[in-house]
Subunit: 356 residues, 2 copies
């Protein structure tokens, strides 16, 4: 059995951290014992490609990607290429066209991970965020009228379909049921009287099918506050595309920082490849210096293993990360160490060999 992975290492620190994620998977000897192979095919797309070719990926890029079992993405973005170009033409188009409607982001304060919150506040930071990932505020619908004139106006329309909203909510309810966890919906019905009142009504409607799941519903502003002063109250969380974007960065801030924030863009039906990427960006300021923290990329690799039902192997990667954090000897500067990206990756590979 061979899993073929399209690797879009991308820009800035992307290639540096992705290399360590691959190293981690390759350190899993249990895969070989099971006769499972990973084949990584590097696709040199991104902003450098854009500056040369005038596009982020080849014209048939999506067709190329479609043949893979998954996509492993580093980071996209580069000074000189406007962000809305680089992201819409690569990251966001993949999320949408491959119907990766579940953006799954674990927010867990691992043992040994740093947090800016005081002791006592941080017990039990153990959440799974499920962010709608194909429509909503990111639908890309809008107009820009009278450009540069006094009457200029820009309109940005969030599109919330029953189709798109219901499926992400049901996914979240199923997960909450399976894991016997509470489910929290985050919205903003008091101010956004079309999209978010719809969201709230649908959440209530679907909840009727899951009487065994305890639910909560928060306004996004209150939720943002509670993430900081009482994060222990959240278990499984479902929210919109934009709110998920903001809330999971808050999650990163309270649970180890951006260097530990992992994400998976999942098409649950497996009609298309899913995509695994650290949440952080390309960080051009530290690119090429060996300073980038590869742990988020390695955690995303663990999510990829989970996606292939290699959950034991996925768990080994998380254990290795936690072990490394507790041990505290080889860490990148963002975690207060002076280790390099590859030193961290090497130590992780060693730990994987010990643990598995």
């Amino acid at each position: 059995m061979t899993y073929r992975i399209a690797v879009i290492a991308g820009d800035g620190i992307g290639p540096e951290v992705i290399a360590e994620g691959i190293k981690a998977i390759e350190a899993l000897t249990t895969l070989q014992e099971k006769g499972i192979q990973f084949e990584f095919v590097h696709l040199p797309w991104g902003c450098e490609y854009y500056l040369r070719e005038g596009r982020m990926m080849p014209e048939d890029g999506m067709d190329v990607l479609r043949e893979f079992d998954a996509i492993y993405l580093g980071a996209v973005g580069y000074p000189g290429v406007p962000d809305h170009v680089s992201l819409w033409d690569l990251l966001l188009i993949i999320r949408k066209q491959f119907d990766q409607y579940i953006n799954l982001r674990p927010i867990r304060l691992l043992n040994g991970a740093p947090t800016v919150l005081k002791e006592g506040t941080v017990d039990n930071i153990q959440m799974t965020f499920i962010r709608e990932n194909t429509e909503g505020e990111y639908a890309g619908a809008g107009e820009w009228l009278y450009r540069g004139q006094p009457q200029e106006v820009a309109l940005q329309t969030g599109v919330f379909s029953r189709h798109g909203t219901e499926r992400v909510m049901r996914y979240a309810f199923e997960l909450a049921r399976r894991e016997k966890k509470t489910l929290t919906s985050i919205s903003k019905g008091n101010a956004l009287q079309y999209s978010m009142v719809f969201w709230d009504e649908l959440f209530e409607e679907i909840a009727k099918d899951y009487p065994d799941v305890t639910t909560y519903s928060y306004l996004v502003d209150a939720a943002a506050m509670h993430m900081i002063n009482d994060p222990g109250r959240f278990e499984i969380v479902v929210t919109s595309n934009l709110f998920g974007d903001i809330m999971t960065d808050i999650g990163a801030a309270i649970a180890g920082g951006m260097g530990l924030a992992a994400g998976a863009n999942i098409n649950p039906e497996r009609a298309f490849p899913s995509m695994f990427e650290p949440v952080h960006g390309s960080a051009p300021d530290i690119a090429g210096q060996g300073k980038a923290n590869p742990l988020a990329a390695i955690w995303s690799a663990s999510q990829m293993l989970d996606h292939f039902d290699l959950t034991d192997e996925g768990a080994v990667l998380i254990q290795a990360i936690e072990h490394l954090l507790v041990e505290g000897e080889v860490l990148t500067p963002d975690l207060g160490g002076d280790g390099s990206t590859s030193e961290v990756g090497n130590r992780i590979a060693q730990l994987i060999q010990t643990i598995q």
Copy 2:
């Protein structure tokens, strides 16, 4: 000279906290010495009124309000009245129809105030958030099609006009220039390619008129993270209606909690009355028990004094709050004390008499 203030104490804890704000202003004997009077006219509008009359305020409510020098609002919202009704028909309509396009929220960690952040992270939390308050994501534009059917879709359109965006940005630049502070814009141009790319371009355009002001521009997700792990980097901040809503609740979380979050809705041209309100809601769970923290309402009263150019008196209120926090003897339960709302208000009134 008499300032006539419309008091909409509103629902839940609203009346309790507003009473203490009025007490604080009335404790300012320097006003009498200057021959300045405040006349508070109580308007019993809100959700109770709604349950009786089927509307949040009388039909001529806006005309009534227009005659006042300012509005002092407690909180709106009540179980049994849908939030989007209670808020759109009172709070949001006042913000919009009175063109209160500046929502000014100080985020300052006063001496003695609690914070969930660790020592070291919290030096210098000293920001002023300027939130656009009349349009943007809260424009109220949208559609809700095929209700209840499989093809159901809700559309919510953010409206960003040059008129509305430029004036809030210029207000922020003027403030930054006057106070010799940096100005940070918070947006999301990488994903919202109409509204937020427009926002970013306009911010750059206007910045050219203020070469003396140092500017920064952050994505809202990154900004949310930095508010938690490095809040000292923000001074004056300008952002959209929704982002301001979320970011200032994060601000409350890091700077003393909701019990200390004050806000002003300002029409800078003074064509209409401005409105002063604590950021917190009506908190029906603790209403009527004397547990509500009145400090946010008192801080908002201080903003009202500032608005009338009574800045010395405004500063006295803040000093009294800070003194009370440092002294730590009379505090409401949210701040770890066992004082009641009116005990805190009484102590503030005493302190005001000592300080002024």
